[in-house]
């Protein structure tokens, strides 16, 4: 929903990219972790006309109130992990909205001047901390750092609960998440 029109805690985000980049997973992880903090959440996979060739996406809403629409025509934030996704979702962002792009796959820069765009070489960062497949977690870290919608601890716990037995991946994923957070924090410090 439009910024400034909603009191209390509220965030929505569309996460889009290739199938297999783990966007569905970080969407669920975000919603699950927020649920564990007692918030209202919805997670919905791409299941509408916005589904186009080459993109898989999901929408997450987190709020301290009952959530009405789980579908967001004009999102507050988008996470895009490939070119078709930035084409599809940059135009939909609210003014002053948050555009987080994985520059390892997104080869163009933002066209809109009224949004806060951050380009993150997520695959490079993930590789550096041990698992390139955790690029999605870098992006989630960046998003959480920007919005503070859930705590790092909740994500950590959520990861453990959702990953279950695959504990060997846990550490790399958590590291990637923290690197994503750090990337944004350092960038913000620089700009300020």
């Amino acid at each position: 929903m439009e910024k400034g029109k909603v009191k209390g805690i509220y965030e929505d985000v569309i996460m889009a990219g290739f199938g297999g980049q783990g966007l569905m997973f970080i969407g669920k992880l975000l919603a699950y972790s927020a649920m564990k903090e007692g918030k209202h959440v919805t997670w919905i996979p791409s299941y509408g006309p916005e589904m186009r060739g080459g993109t898989a996406n999901c929408t997450v809403v987190v709020s301290d109130e009952e959530i009405g629409s789980p579908l967001i025509p004009r999102p507050r934030a988008v996470i895009v992990m490939n070119n078709p996704s930035i084409e599809a979702f940059e135009p939909k962002l609210q003014s002053d909205g948050l555009l987080l792009a994985n520059s390892s796959f997104v080869t163009r820069s933002a066209t809109r001047k009224d949004v806060q765009a951050t380009f993150i070489p997520a695959n490079e960062i993930a590789s550096r901390v041990g698992n390139e497949k955790a690029a999605n977690m870098v992006m989630l870290g960046a998003y959480v750092a920007c919005t503070n919608i859930v705590s790092k601890e909740s994500i950590n716990k959520g990861l453990e609960e959702l990953f279950g037995a695959k504990r060997e991946f846990l550490e790399a994923n958590m590291l990637a998440f923290e690197e994503g957070m750090k990337f944004v924090q350092e960038k913000c410090l620089k700009t300020k």
């Binding site: 029109k5 669920k28 919603a31 699950y32 209202h40 997670w43 299941y47 009952e66 009405g68 004009r74």
Partner: protein, 353 residues
């Protein structure tokens, strides 16, 4: 209440059925409700129940008929084209007065249509659907939690009225994940039915039939079913009135569209437009009186649906010309955004008279 679980609507409905004592499920895969089949195939064996993937929706509904005839709690589920195939069997189940629960996660039609959410099966669900004079009781949740509660209620209503009950959702609701809680199971033993088939031991044999070749006899049967449904119309109207009291424009919407409308209403009120929502929870019986009351109080009504005006007709019937009823819809799998609803409500508010 138990701990919150993060579940997709389809899974939540399946788990709710199990918690309501459903131990038999017969179905046939069709998008967007496959997760119900899949969840049942995993969970029912754990609780000593039976999951069976039928050879078609036609077979699935008659397996449901067969199990319902024993008095067991039984469910089937499908999506629009599959529900169309089931209509013959649903008519037989209604005629035989057997309790069962049917879930329809609607998708776009007609024909093969699409796999995206729709509400275009409203007529089929609420007006009978199959041949002959009958109605299903139809419950339309708008959140995953409500899907849980209404699925559990559906089994009780089916038993109470010996009538099939439909839980009507859409692809959106089936796929969306939300936190849900399951109330602790109230009971696991259900009252023994007086009519069920389980072998005629120490009693006269029971017969489940729907053929009555003598017109006056069939007429009597039809009237008995109508009388029974009349009782349901008296007792089972369910609706939510959301910010209606001071509203100038009342949105009429159910299911997914209704929750989107709630967001629109919040935004409209920020803009100074007093909007509200009258949300039918039971689509049959329909809250005619509640819409009539809205009309009598001089409020304007905007019906928003993912169909080309199906529930709209019921609202018009209820309102009976006492106020203007506007209509807005997206169809074919397109879900109306809250921004569209905001725009339509503002238009309606500005219209004179």
């Amino acid at each position: 209440m138990t701990e919150k679980r993060f579940m997709a609507g389809n899974e939540a409905i399946a788990e709710a059925a199990i918690q309501a004592g459903c131990r038999f499920y017969f179905g046939y895969p069709i998008t967007p409700q496959n997760e119900i089949c899949e969840y049942m195939s995993m969970r029912l064996p754990e609780v000593g129940g039976t999951f069976l993937q039928a050879e078609s929706e036609v077979a699935a509904i008659y397996m449901t008929f067969g199990a319902a005839g024993t008095g067991a709690r039984v469910m089937t589920s499908s999506s629009s084209p599959g529900i169309s195939l089931m209509q013959e069997g649903i008519s037989y189940i209604a005629a035989a007065e057997l309790p069962c629960v049917i879930v329809n996660m609607m998708r776009g039609g007609p024909g093969l249509g699409g796999i995206h959410p729709s509400q275009a099966d409203y007529f089929q669900a609420t007006k009978g659907g199959g041949h002959g004079d009958y109605h299903l009781l139809v419950l339309a949740p708008h959140t995953a939690q409500e899907a849980v509660n209404l699925t559990m209620l559906a089994f009780d209503l089916a038993d109470k009225y010996r009538n099939p009950v439909m839980v009507l959702g859409d692809g959106n609701m089936g796929q969306m994940m939300e936190p849900v809680e399951f109330p602790p199971p109230a009971k696991t033993e259900f009252s023994k039915k007086e009519w069920n088939l389980d072998g005629a031991r120490n009693r006269p044999r029971h017969l489940i039939k729907t053929l009555y070749l003598d017109p006056p006899v069939l007429e009597k049967r039809n009237l008995a079913i109508a009388h029974k449904l009349g009782e349901a119309v008296k007792n089972e109207v369910r609706f939510e009135s959301f910010m209606v009291d001071d509203a100038d424009v009342v949105i009429g919407a159910y299911g997914t569209v209704a929750r989107i409308a709630k967001t629109a209403i919040k935004l409209l009120r920020e803009n100074g437009v007093k909007a509200g929502l009258l949300r039918p929870i039971s689509l049959y019986p329909f809250p005619y009186q509640q819409f009539a009351k809205v009309a009598e109080s001089g409020k304007k009504i905007l019906v928003v649906e993912m169909s080309l005006g199906q529930m709209f007709q019921d609202v018009q019937l209820a309102v009976c010309g006492k106020t203007k009823v506007n209509f807005y819809s997206r169809v074919g799998g397109v879900v109306p955004g809250y921004d569209e609803i905001v725009r339509e409500v503002e238009k309606t508010a500005k219209e004179s008279g």
